[in-house]
């Protein structure tokens, strides 16, 4: 192991070391001034807490400095290009944040009398309307909390609809290139999962799908555009085959960015699709959430959407909160309260800002940028599938053959160049995949810098400088971390040092 930074503090210029909050504890200190509680009878029964909890005491300046320093150890889309395939890291407009913080939105309690929340219900209705028109689907379930939660919701809607017609189907078909959440969601809905292979063109093997379809199949779950960045050109035939077998056609909408405003999923024969508001509609990922995953539904599935949902009648907006109150056949409730309302505000602000014309331009620019990367890099890297890609460009690691540089090493070297690495080793159908998604919010100048950087690194790898890649990254707050040790001996919390 080489020595840490050659400074007394461990700091490296502006890269400041930051201890844990527990290591900055001054017992008795607090950063919130609160009055002395009133004296009175205690109604805690015999359950009063005794002894210390163990929380550290810090002042406000110490707390602010702590989190500011931590923030500086993060890469973010505000700092630079984040070409993570299938993750759609696009610009997060601050107008969205400002709107979500209006007290008339952020300060509303979920159980206020309905007469006092007409604006909030109107907002849910308006957001749902935009999603419904953009997808061509008649209904939308707004409450799922994230994309995978939307998958689970969609599958439960499908299962409820099948049970309603007395049809107890047990299998769900999922392409092998699918996001891992797809099979996990199907299993969480009690289905057995069967994998469908890809063909030589990186699309679903139609013959294999047709062979697998049968009277026991509840749904086929397809990501479209798929995780190879390709549009499933046989999609109409796929939809027909799925429907002919009496199954439902589920679409993973994680890549809706590529077609929004230009292609309506309903026109492709899709029955059910979740939409990641934190992807296509720019609500921030926040280091891993919150997400929001509304699910659009065909007319056949609409009655089974979960509670709660908003209804508009002559007197204004109502909220149907329980199965007992519903005139439809909701399968139940999937989340506490009414969904990720704060995310609806952000997504609606974004959709209104771009409008029908701007959203169409979003898809065009996202696709244009990805194809530009593909065209500019295909002679340097290796390409598994020819032809136009959609919003992401897929490469494989054949260009690294015999260089001693792994895909992971290559990605780590991107970090020193100031770029977040692309998605690696996914989709699984391609060996050593590198999946790049530029999105529509990168300028041509940034794309050109990125292209030049990838080319330069590829040349360096081919030139035999493997050691450079093995040691990357060098310029980050931490260098390569030992993930194996972390998993072998999990330390998941701070504990006071033994005295």
């Amino acid at each position: 192991m080489s020595a840490p930074a050659p400074t007394i503090t461990g700091n490296r210029g502006l890269q400041l070391e930051e201890p844990l909050i527990f290591e900055q504890d001054s017992p008795g200190k607090t950063a919130v001034d609160l009055p002395q509680p009133a004296q009175g009878r205690d109604r805690l029964g015999s359950l009063g807490r005794e002894g210390r909890i163990g929380l550290p005491g810090l002042s406000e300046p110490e707390v602010v400095r702590h989190y500011l320093r931590l923030s500086q150890k993060n890469y973010s889309i505000d700092a630079g290009m984040y070409p993570l395939g299938s993750c759609t890291m696009k610009h997060n407009p601050r107008l969205n944040e400002k709107m979500a913080r209006l007290p008339g939105f952020a300060g509303v309690h979920p159980l206020q009398p309905i007469s006092t929340v007409q604006g909030a219900l109107e907002l849910i209705g308006a957001t749902g309307h935009w999603l419904s028109v953009l997808t061509g689907m008649p209904a939308v379930a707004m409450s799922p909390a994230a994309g995978a939660h939307g998958e689970l919701t969609g599958l439960m809607v499908i299962r409820a609809a099948l049970e309603d017609r007395g049809d107890a189907r047990k299998r769900v078909l999922v392409p092998e290139s699918a996001h891992g959440t797809n099979p996990a969601s199907a299993a969480a809905c009690g289905y057995t999962v069967e994998s469908i292979p890809a063909n030589a063109r990186g699309r679903v093997d139609l013959a294999a799908l047709k062979a697998a379809l049968g009277p026991d199949v509840a749904a086929f779950m397809l990501t479209n555009p798929n995780t190879c960045g390709l549009f499933e050109s046989d999609i109409i035939e796929i939809a027909d085959a799925v429907h002919a077998a009496g199954a439902f056609f589920y679409c993973d909408g994680a890549n809706f960015n590529a077609i929004v405003g230009r292609v309506r999923p309903a026109d492709l024969g899709i029955d059910c699709m979740h939409i990641n508001l934190h992807k296509t509609f720019s609500t921030p990922h926040g280091g891993g959430g919150p997400g929001s995953g509304p699910v659009v539904l065909s007319a056949a599935l609409a009655p089974f959407a979960p509670v709660p949902y908003v209804v508009k009648d002559g007197k204004g907006f109502r909220l149907v909160e329980s199965v007992a109150e519903s005139e439809a056949k909701p399968f139940g409730r999937i989340k506490g309260f009414h969904g990720q309302f704060g995310m609806f505000v952000r997504a609606l602000a974004y959709m209104m800002s771009l409008g029908s014309d701007g959203l169409r331009q979003v898809a065009e620019d996202a696709v244009l940028s990805a194809n530009y990367l593909m065209a500019s890099l295909k002679d340097t890297l290796s390409v598994p599938f020819e032809g136009p890609c959609m919003h992401e460009a897929l490469f494989d690691d054949r260009f690294l053959k015999d260089t001693g540089v792994s895909t992971l090493d290559f990605a780590k070297a991107m970090i020193d160049e100031g770029f977040h690495p692309m998605t690696m080793y996914f989709p699984l159908v391609v060996h050593g995949a590198l999946l790049m998604e530029p999105t529509e919010t990168e300028s041509k100048a940034t794309l050109d810098t990125f292209i030049a950087t990838v080319r330069g690194l590829a040349e360096r790898a081919k030139g035999g400088d493997a050691e450079y890649f093995h040691a990357a990254p060098r310029l980050t707050p931490r260098r390569r971390l030992d993930e194996t040790a972390a998993a072998r001996n999990p330390i998941l919390r701070w504990s006071p040092p033994a005295i």
Partner: protein
Amino acid sequence: MRYLPLTGDERRQMLATIGATSVDDLFRDVPAAARLKGAVDLPPTSGEMEVERALSAMAARNLPAVAAPSFLGAGAYRHFVPAAVDHLIQRGEFLTAYTPYQPEISQGTLQYLFEFQTQVALLTGCEVANASMYDGATACAEAVMMAGRITKRTKAVMSGALHPHYRAVAATYTRFLGITLETPEPDWTKPEDLAGLIDGETACVVVQNPDFFGRLADRKALADACHAAGALLIVVVTEVVSLGAIRSPGAMDADIVAAEGQSLGNALNFGGPTVGLMATRQKFVRQLPGRLVGQTADVDGRRGFVLTLSTREQHIRRDKATSNICTNSGLCALAFTIHLTLLGEEGFKRMAAINHANAVKLAERLAGLPGVEVVNDSFFNEFTLRLPKPAVGVVEALAAKGVFAGVPVKRLLPTVAGTENLLLVAVTETNAEDDMDRLTDGLKETTR
């Protein structure tokens, strides 16, 4: 279109590099019939000022709880959030980062999640916690499924005094998995005998503390009964501030704690997004759903943090995963952890003490009104009132006067008989003396 940097010239240059004649060319894999010729039927692009005007008008059609004396609770609570919280979570490096898959450039997110896990473990009295769930209700459902995996049993006893949303979500999650829920009818008049419902097939018993009606109970005996029968005790906490005043679930020997963390750092947001908390024993950690951050070292030997034990997760285990959860509530967890760090041990306990003292004061005052009864004897910051007339009408009448009196129990338990006159009243540090006067006077007038 201010979010799109490409110019017309640049688009043409890029098309030339690609060797395409038009963008439409790039969409040629889309069946022609499915390619829209023009824009969909929605309004065109709007400037920042217009969007702000339209959304502000919509926001103005609400009377938010923060703008009025409010005693609303039942799973979402108004608390005072120091200004530093929102300032810090709006830093672009936190707000616009992705899941920390590249640890070398995500130490900020990873370190705060490690601190968050520690804080949640301390509050709940458990050994380990995960890096957050969607919300309390889904965390509870995941806890039931986790208990099923651990015990390999198929029944769950759900307290009737568990928040109705939590029961409903657990019912939804388990419906297709062969797990049967046993739920006694909600009864606010007497304690439940849940130990009597445990049998050899019981995976877990789920109770809330304080419960939906606000009552507190020592769950140690129930934990013992569970363990004697090979079942697990799951304790749900919907008001995390209560943990500053009452004994932790871990100290009562709970096996899994599922909680809602909205009260710290997070706005009401009409119910979402919020932050689910989940904690358990070290020995169950490989069955814990969601993300975990672990400590390790880099090649220079310096302490650092990574996502770990991902072999439980969907992206590796696919249909064999412990859970399908992928995105969690990272930013809401950040707000939670910053608020709790600002409070510290002293501030958190004092905040809890103020909540309790205010609730006691109001309960005593309301119990003096004719025909009004405080149903429960023990409580933290929320209690149940029995009014002389239906609570829904009373709440509407007071809302018309700009006071949010609380949540009618009937709204959440529409099919349970005898709940018409029950009102849940929550009190926090945000309720000033004047708020309490307005509620007391309002109730006096309305129930006369």
